[in-house]
Symmetry: C2
Subunit: 402 residues, 2 copies
């Protein structure tokens, strides 16, 4: 279906980062034109005079199916939470529950302006893919390989991860990703094999790294290297690698990530909630050339999938960490949640420009919490919430309305 959107206030995220009052023409699933006064007969027309339009937000690290466990075992210490609550519950989760959890989580994301997400989970991947398609989001999905702790042989772990890739590699909304859970849950052999497979098949490689201090100490003991140094020594850092957390790192490790142009995913709320203690220094990662992006982490350790909250917190924690109110600009935050994320995933999105995929979010500009309009980026990063999202377009399809 072709759609003409009239008179929106567009946060384009184009190369000049223009914010402009203009029209958008969507043909099928692509943005065909962005300019003033487009005259064109289309099947569908939206008067966007009262809306701020931005590129769909991209949640770069989550475990969406865990929405089914949201709120289970609150206010517990991390190990107790995992051992007594989450792991026993996860081991019993059925395919149906994983489908339902993914439905809840993807719907929550859609309602809050997220159009794509990068996910890692440990079982029932087909259910996650089916539920994502049902909601209508773009899912970058992976079976996280954890051969050291899964209790299964590494062959069957591998088969499941690769089987998922083969099955879904040609789907329009689903893009398979290769994930290794972490350096403590995945064997060195498997890390190397996974990255090799990813490179050969042009897939992204996703891993948790340097989330807790324990991981650092264990890695130093075992490899005489810090976790990011260890990944580097294995040749795992390049521009197709996505590092989740990376919040307990040295300046040398930040430089390694920057030099390799790898992507890091800052998950500020999860880090605070699990009391890991580390603050991901996205200011320094950015300065060193890393591709900085943002994620919510799973809904059981956040406990939301709210990217507005994550954008705000990511910015606030940089200010706090450096005792500098100008540590990290709103423009950088929005880049991290759109353009940088699209780049990390190899997705033709992240900005509102001719030729890009039609993934758009409409915020009600008249709502009190977005008034007045001195600085729309500031309003977006510091004042907006999911309740402001009134329409979402994913792949040219319209969801919600107001």
């Amino acid at each position: 279906m072709d759609i003409l959107i009239k008179n929106g206030t567009i946060i384009t995220q184009n190369s000049k980062r223009e914010i402009t009052k203009a029209d958008i023409l969507i043909r099928e699933n692509e943005i065909a034109e962005v300019k003033k006064s487009i005259k064109e007969k289309t099947e569908f027309k939206i008067d966007a005079s009262d809306f701020i339009i931005l590129p769909g937000l991209i949640n770069m690290h989550t475990h969406v199916a865990m929405a089914i466990l949201r709120g289970l075992g609150e206010d517990l210490l991390l190990q107790e939470w995992l051992n007594k609550k989450i792991w026993p519950a996860e081991s019993k989760l059925t395919g149906k529950q994983i489908f339902d959890g993914t439905k809840i989580g993807t719907q929550e994301m859609l309602l809050s302006g997220v159009t794509s997400f990068n996910d890692m989970y440990i079982k029932e991947l087909d259910q996650i893919a089916e539920a994502t398609i049902k909601t209508g989001l773009r899912g970058f999905l992976s079976r996280g390989i954890l051969d050291l702790i899964s209790g299964r042989d590494s062959k069957s772990e591998w088969k499941e991860a690769i089987g998922f890739v083969e099955k879904w590699k040609k789907n329009k909304l689903i893009t398979p990703v290769i994930s290794c859970h972490s350096i403590y849950a995945t064997s060195e052999e498997m890390l190397l094999k996974s990255k090799e497979y990813a490179n050969k098949n042009k897939l992204k490689f996703h891993i948790h790294i340097s989330e807790t201090r324990k991981e650092i100490f264990d890695c130093l003991k075992k490899h005489r290297k810090r976790p990011v140094e260890y990944l580097d020594s294995l040749g795992l850092l390049d521009s197709n690698t996505i590092l989740a957390h990376a919040s307990w790192v040295t300046k040398r490790e930040i430089r390694l990530v920057g030099k390799a142009k790898s992507t890091i995913v800052n998950c500020p709320i999860s880090n605070l909630k699990l009391a890991t203690g580390g603050i991901c220094q996205i200011k320094e990662y950015w300065e060193e050339g890393a591709n900085v992006t943002l994620g919510t982490d799973g809904p059981a350790s956040n406990n939301s999938l709210n990217m507005f909250e994550t954008m705000k917190l990511a910015a606030l924690l940089q200010k706090h960490h450096y005792w500098k109110a100008d540590a990290f600009s709103t423009q950088k935050i929005l880049d991290a949640a759109t353009l940088n994320a699209a780049k990390a995933l190899g997705l033709n999105a992240g900005s509102i420009e001719k030729g890009k995929l039609a993934d758009l979010v409409f915020l009600d500009a008249r709502t009190p919490n977005l008034m007045p309009h001195y600085d729309l980026l500031s309003n977006l990063v510091y004042s907006a919430h999911p309740g402001n999202v009134k329409k979402v377009i994913v792949d040219g399809k319209i969801f919600l309305d107001a």
Copy 2:
């Protein structure tokens, strides 16, 4: 108007902190009954089967009129932000703009489940009161006295503050409060006179304290005491005193606040945004007997008036600060935002019980981000956002609907 609310899931905040499925009968502006199966003919009836009902949230520290300046001068260092942007803009604000700012801010609060707020501002207090009444919130309002920096004589400062009290002391929704801006902007003589007047007239006393390191160093130099010790030495700490921020303090100061049973208002987002560096140790304040409450601070240094966000961040920052995922429970957070705040203000609210004022908030329980329902307090503190608020009742009047 009498209202019968049927089958709500009620987070009562009563002495047993019960969460129960029951009916609520409202007569005029009071809760007349909370129990199962109330049979009563009323003018208005609400089917609340799909709603979670909680006591109205109370924002304990803000400068609501500053909503008119939201987004002005983003990403600047604190002094530059104040000197170049906020102070020049504030000095030019007209009564009309302050009315409009208060309308925007109070509407934002109403839409996000806040039914009462404690405010301090420096001029046009009548406009703030009128706009608050127009929106329909309970405002605890004060003309913050800052005789050391206002450029006006202390007599006229005093006259304005007291004039406001006299004019509004009998209003149903407005309760005047006595505020001194801070120990660096208000003279010692005025601090003493203000607290004496507050005590004599049974008014609450509100002040900013220990927000920045500079304030601590200046106070140590001038008085050889830290800010809270200085207030204590003047006899200003008691259960009618409300301390905003108090985030750069020693354990001895925390004990002083606890012993006096004073109220502290944690404004976590503002502290991060202005990069003040301090984390208000509400865990320790609580343990020492202080009355812990929460505030957003002004919409120009947050930049929202979203108490859901503030509840979440307050909890997360305690976990982060102590590296303990169980540092501060969701129950304590909700108490801080309801019961403790009501106590601080002398307001007969903060829980859903017979005889309390009818200030209620309805959240849509079916929305994906509040599913599933393992732990409603966790959902409320960690997963909810203003978009989940579908109805609000203030003083027995219904606002919004869904």
